[in-house]
Structure formats: structure tokens, C-alpha cells
Subunit: 471 residues, 2 copies
């Protein structure tokens, strides 16, 4: 450890062993050092190699987390919070070893305040389980990053997904949290009021901090009413530019579209093959509208006119649940459908986000790069936010292919940043995108982030080697 | 200065004089030490006495701000950012003297990106000037705190206002900022993309930091499309509880109400007298709906049904601009109308915010207190957010009355906190509400805030004596 807040090498193995010994006495079988379990807790779905922790603690309460962090702090041992392991940029890797705190057993819905449209959850509850448990209340939690992630992980990575265009991201939907910080204190970031001007916004500081400032132990979430009516539809466009322009006009018109997803023609081809469909192999928009019967009909018709103005269409929409499900199945299956484009390969999921006016250009230049690099890489995007994903299909046993993919991602990120965009719209930084942070934010902002990290975690034990660590 | 980040006494007068001398050479007539100007820049609309700065610098560029901060940092002199001076909790007071940086000349709209629904402004532009300049674009900036505040001040205090229930607060509408921090660095908090998961959320950290972490020099703001149709209406209720219950059902139903304001019967009485109206002297809700013609009609009708279910009504709504203006005039005039309830007295504006389920109770208990304390204090609230204002009318020459008002506010704040609410929903902390922060957030959260302050402003020169300073 050389600089306050930043670990630069593995801690003394004897100190780690002592800490694990103390925690074993405390947790018994809830602490594991089995290799399989340790590796599973550093599972990562990028090219980043697995870096296993020294031990995994299955926490069942905030007190368990506090105790684990206190012991780790005393012995200078890293702490890596773990939810479901669905993050994409090496967030759960144990770069300097240490203790993975698995929060999956802390998965209770603690309270529902229906009148206030909020609920309180433990961090290990997944979004599907949460929505199942909310079903009888007429409310739902709208953020859907695709994977059945834990709410703690979603908060930690500032996740969003298909309906962020309407409901916002995790930064907009977390009202308050309890967080165990590096000295074992429990910080309550806010009260349950809808808004406050009382002091620094600790909630938003911990949302997206990826475990580097503390371990989330409780989250108060905004909920939304289940819409009375939902309409969904799809629409083919002659080009990505035409589709993006239709999206811009839709948003400008104030149509409160709930989802607006773009699949490029490569992605459509994969979906056709996977799902035995015969969609025209052109850019496709999938949309969803939430409201009353009359209002979703009006929104759908207005969008249909906008689509026609941009050469798209015809726009057909449906409202029956089974019809909607069939329509969205294609979107939900894109990951598996994509893999079918190159059997045996793995998908290297990456994302950027740009101002929506630059989206068509950014995608066009990215597609030119895909061709130039000889990659197979379908594109799917949350285009209402200017956010899109590319999934290069890579032979993970080929260092040359991985290197090519890394160069491709680097160019894509630099392109997005040059367009006033960000290196990641929703996946987070982890260790995979650390090297782009200074380019995106500039040195003074990165220094401010590092000063905050050092102030809240002077020993640098909280998820070291991530986000603001030196690249 | 005893603790990093926190000034505890006035700096050496010689150092202040030297700093002012250097800055006078640099700025000439743009630096003033006239007593009238200094006092005007510490004007405060609460009971908090005026504490004038030693000098006022009229900044015309970010470079001016950087230079002023660098000199102040070198000599350990406080910096107090100033917009329009409409804050309510002593935010612009110079508790330890120092230099007020007046940003009112930095009032340009730098760029409008209509396709992206955003714009870039200097901090001194006021919201009315901004909306005038945006008029031809079909876009508007929705946040309306009442006063014609500067956008820099609104960001610094995390302002909101009547239509936050639909459009959010400043935390939701600032995409990015440039901020001059305590060492004269310029931190760019984010790119212009709609969302990002790239690093700590510096934007939200600086929003609401009230000048204690830096001076805002540029803001990128989200804009909204001017609605095609606006409907406004009003509705009387038999009790605050009935009105609050109608609000809860309205929000739960997903009706995207743009404004929903409560006036208690005392406030209605003041408005009747001031505006020569004859509204029933009962709790009144004023509402506004934004959308298409069909959609605002549907929203208005649905609200009318909800109101009737709660004993309210009849709910009459209008869409013509002149009719809407007449309706809202009563709301806009509440401050002046209130003063008419006790000629010669001044209004001591305070606010709290609670979960909406507790709003009726909180207001009822507050009204009981108003009676017990013998105060005249009308109530007006942004009830969709659970936020309400009380305006005790006080003889500011009477220390006894001021002390009574302070006790009343203290009880109101403690009541709000006990209901899981906040000591201020939108006014901010300044020096007026510092003493409640630990009660609201708890010691660990306050310590985390102080650690952040010390990390970003180790000499404690940025607006000292505010928010997280020792009470």
C-alpha cells in the first residue's frame, strides 16, 4: 500500500490467514475457502481472467457484514462484495485476493410502503424475486438490466436497461441505502422522503461506486404502479440513421415511450435464425408504451406517424400479454441468438452511451470498424438513452482475437468520448474500463474521485484495483 | 483552522488584505469593498443576521473564478459563491468574512442541443431569462423554485419547486457541470450523455453542496418539450387529510400530474384577501397536467373522479393560457398574500419533506403547533413530493418572537425526521439548518460528508460555516 486509499500489492499472507481464521471461528460453515467456490465468486464474463478471493463469507445480516469488514480492516485484507456475479467488467474479481462477501442470502423484501410507492430490500434480492413478491401490491420495480441481478449489485453498478428511457436508472430509483464503510461504520445515506436538500448526496455517491466505498446492506427503492395498459410494437427502418432520427423526434415530442430498443441488421439476422422468424434483415425498433387504454393507443398511433415520416414501418402494435411476450422474446433472446452467429465463440459484451444526436454516427462508425477488424459483432441498443451494446463473438482461447477485440473496444470508447459520450452507459467500470476514465473525465475529476476514495477508505481495502485505482 | 476542511475562525486580517490587494490589481472596478455592496451580497431572508464578506468580485468568466479561488487559497481566505441571493438559510453569508464571487454577469446560454434535449449555461443565468431565450426552440427548463433564481444557485442548493413531481429536482435535471474546486482546478463532472456508469457521480455530489466543495462555472441542463396541451384546475377538500389522500391515489394511479399544490385554509384566506377572490376557506389543491389535448382531458377527468371519491370537488379545469394564468396567480402570490395576514411582519420561510403517507399527519401536527405557539403561519405545499412550506409571520425586531419561531421550526423538523422525512426538501441547509443534520443522517453519514469536504477542500475555504460544518 503506497497511497492512501489505494492498495498496490497483495497484503501479507499471514495477515490474510489470521483474518480468515478469526472469521472462520465466527462464521463456521458460512465461510468457505474451497477453490471452486472462490473461483465462482470471481467469475467474469469478459476477457478479464478470473482472480479468485482467498475466502467467501455468506453474510446473512448487516451485522455479519460489519463484523467481516471490521476484521478485514484490522488486518488490511480486501473486501469484495458479491451479489449474483452477473457484472461484465471484472467487478467481482479479487485483484489482491481478500474476502468476497456473498450477499445472496440477504434476499428479503423488508417493507412495502404502497402509499409512498417505495419498498425496502436487502441487497441480495434479485429483481425477478422482488417483482414476484410485489405482484399483489399493484406495484413493480421497473429497472431491468436483462440479467436477474441482485438489487445490491444493480445499485453498486448504477445499472439501467430497457426501460430506463421512461423510469430512469438506479441513480433515479434508489431513495436511500445503508452501507457498511471501510471502518465498519454503517452509513444511512438518506431518509425515505422523495426529495431532500439536506447535505451531500451520499445516496448517489454510493450508487455506482462498485463496492469501492462500502458494502450495501439495505436499499430503499422507488416503485411504479403497474400500468393499466401496455402496448408493444415493432417497426423496420431502411437505416440505423432513419431509426435514430425517428427516436429523436419521438423523445422530442414528449411521447413517454417506456422502451425503445434498436437491433441492427446483424442482430436481426441472428434472431431470425435462433427464433425461426422471418423479420426483414434491416434495422428494427421494438417499442413499448405504458398508460391507459386510450393513452397507449394515442402514443402508438403517434409513433406510427413518426416512423412513417422516416421511412419506417408499418408500425404494428399489440396489447395482449401473450402477443407482447412473443414480440419481446426476440429482444430477450439476443444474447443466445448472437452466439449462434459463430458457434463455439463467446460474446464479449461492451457498451457506450452518447448524446442521442450522435447515436447514428457512432453506430455507423462502429459498424465500419467491425467490418475493418473482421469481427462478427451484433448491435443492440437502448436508443432512447443513446446507449448501445456491441457483442463481438470471440474465440476466448485465441490471445490474438482477444487483443483485436480489446483494440476494437478501445476505439469504440474513444469515439464515444469524442462525441461527448461515456465509456460505459450501464455496465460500469470494474477493472475492464479503468484505463478510459481519465480520458473521459479529465485529470481533475479523476483526482477528485480518488480523493473521495482515499477519504472514505484510507487503507484501500474496499474492492481494490477497480474504477478509480491507477490503471 | 483546527480540523482539515473546516475553518473555525476568521483568517489573519493581513492575509485577507493582501489577497484583496492582489485581486484589486487584477479586477479593478470589478472588485468592490463598498459596505452596501458587501451587505447586499450577504442578504438573507431568514432570522439569520447578515454577515458581510470583505469584498465582492464580479466574475465574468471561469478564468476569473479560477484566479480568485487561487489567490484565496494561497492566503487562506473564504470564498462564497453568489447567484441572485434568493436562498433562504443564510447560504450566502460570509461567516468568517472572505470574498463573495458574484456570478450574475456569467449569464449566457452557451449552447442548445435541441435533438438531445439539453443546453449548456453559465451559472448566473436566471431561470426566467433561460426560458425566454429557449422559447423559439419548443423546449423549456421545467424547474421552478418560485424565485427567479440563478441556475448556479439552483444547482448548488438542489432546488426544485412546483413541478418537481413530474420533472424532478435539480439533481435529476443537471447532466454535467464544470466546478472550480478549492485548489483552483476545474473539475468537469460528466459528459453530455444521458446516462453513465463511469465512476463516482460527481455531478450529484456537487449538486446540493451549496458552494462548500467548489464554485459552479458551467451547467449542462436537461430540457423538456413544451407540452402541446396544458390543463389546470383547482379543487376544494373538506380537510388536509382528504386532500392528501386524493394526492396519494392520484400518484399511485400513475397519472403524470405536472403540478399538485396544496394551500391550507389560512393560506386560502390570505389569497382571498390579497386577490379579491371568494374561494371557500378550506384546503385547496391546484393542479396542472401536461400532454396532448386528449391526454390532458383524460388526466383531468380521472383526477376529478379521485377528488370526488375523497369528498373534494367539483374539479373544474381549463386549458386556455389566460385562464390557467389566472388560476395559478393565486399560488404565485402566496408570499405577498401571506404578509397581508399580519401587516408589518416578515415571513420566515421554512420547509420539510416527509413520505407522502405521513403528509397529512405531519401537517395536522404542525398546525396544532402553530395554534399552540400562537403563530400566524400559512402552509403551502408541493404535496406530490410530500414537501410543504410554513411561513410564520414574525416581528423581526422582537427577539422573543424569533426565538419562538426557531423553537417552532425545530419541532417541525424533528417531527419530519421522526416520520422518515428530511429537515429541508428544497431550501437547503445553509447555516440555518446545520444543527439538524446529525439528527437526520446519523453520525456515520455526517462523518462521511465531513471526510469528503476535508478531502476536496482541506483548507476549508469554500463557503465555510455551512452544511457540514460543526453546528
Amino acid at each position: 500500500m503506497t497511497v492512501a486509499g489505494f492498495m498496490s500489492s497483495r497484503p501479507d499472507p499471514q495477515a490474510v490467514a489470521t483474518a480468515i481464521g478469526i472469521l472462520t471461528q465466527r462464521f463456521g460453515e458460512r465461510l468457505s475457502t474451497s477453490q471452486a467456490l472462490r473461483e465462482q465468486h470471481a467469475h467474469t464474463t469478459t476477457w478479464i481472467p478470473v482472480e479468485a478471493p482467498d475466502a467467501v463469507v455468506f453474510a446473512e445480516s448487516e451485522a455479519d457484514v460489519v463484523e467481516t469488514v471490521r476484521v478485514a480492516a484490522e488486518y488490511g485484507v480486501p473486501i469484495i462484495p458479491f451479489g449474483t456475479g452477473t457484472s461484465l467488467e471484472g467487478h467481482v474479481n479479487a485483484h489482491f485476493g481478500g474476502i468476497s462477501i456473498d450477499t445472496s442470502r440477504m434476499n428479503r423484501l423488508l417493507a412495502v410502503h404502497a402509499e409512498d410507492l417505495d419498498c425496502v430490500v436487502q441487497p441480495g434480492i434479485t429483481r425477478k424475486l422482488l417483482n414476484e413478491q410485489l405482484r399483489d401490491t399493484g406495484l413493480f420495480f421497473p429497472i431491468d438490466p436483462g440479467a436477474d441481478a441482485s438489487l445490491g449489485g444493480m445499485a453498486a453498478t448504477r445499472a439501467s436497461g430497457t426501460n430506463a428511457v421512461r423510469y430512469g436508472t438506479m441513480k433515479d430509483n434508489v431513495l436511500a441505502m445503508r452501507v457498511v464503510t471501510a471502518d465498519g461504520s454503517v452509513v444511512k445515506t438518506a431518509q425515505r422522503a422523495r426529495k431532500s436538500s439536506a447535505g451531500y448526496d451520499l445516496t448517489r455517491l454510493f450508487v455506482g461506486s462498485e463496492g469501492t466505498l462500502g458494502v450495501i446492506t439495505e436499499i430503499t427503492l422507488k416503485l411504479a404502479g403497474i400500468p393499466e395498459a401496455i402496448a408493444a410494437g415493432s417497426c423496420t427502418f431502411p437505416s440505423v440513421k432513419a431509426a435514430a432520427d425517428a427516436v429523436i423526434v419521438t423523445i422530442q415530442s414528449g411521447i413517454p415511450v417506456a422502451r425503445i430498443e434498436l437491433l441492427d441488421e446483424v442482430q436481426v439476422r441472428s434472431v431470425n435464425a435462433y427464433s425461426k422468424l422471418s423479420l426483414p434483415e434491416q434495422p428494427l425498433l421494438l417499442l413499448e408504451f405504458h398508460g391507459t387504454d386510450a393513452w397507449v393507443a394515442e402514443q402508438s398511433e403517434r409513433f406510427g406517424e413518426i416512423a412513417a415520416d422516416h421511412g419506417g414501418g408499418p408500425f404494428a402494435w399489440v396489447t395482449k400479454p401473450e402477443d407482447r411476450t412473443r414480440l419481446w422474446q426476440a429482444r430477450h433472446d439476443v444474447y443466445w441468438a448472437s452466439l449462434g452467429l459463430r458457434p463455439g465463440a463467446k460474446g464479449l459484451s461492451t457498451d457506450v452511451c452518447v448524446p442521442i444526436s450522435r447515436l447514428a454516427d457512432c453506430i455507423a462508425e462502429t459498424k465500419a470498424d467491425i467490418e475493418a477488424f473482421g469481427l462478427i459483432a451484433p448491435i443492440v441498443g437502448h436508443v432512447g438513452d443513446g446507449n448501445f451494446h456491441v457483442l463481438p463473438l470471440i474465440d476466448m482461447d485465441s490471445p490474438a482475437e482477444i487483443a483485436t477485440a480489446e483494440r476494437f473496444v478501445g476505439r469504440m470508447v474513444e469515439r464515444a468520448i469524442a462525441m461527448d459520450g461515456t465509456c460505459t452507459g450501464e455496465h460500469g467500470v470494474g477493472s475492464g474500463k479503468m484505463k478510459y476514465l481519465e480520458k473521459e473525465h479529465g485529470a481533475p475529476a479523476l483526482m477528485a474521485m480518488r480523493a473521495i476514495k482515499a477519504a472514505l477508505d484510507p487503507k484501500g481495502i474496499m474492492n481494490p484495483g477497480k474504477i478509480v485505482a491507477a490503471g
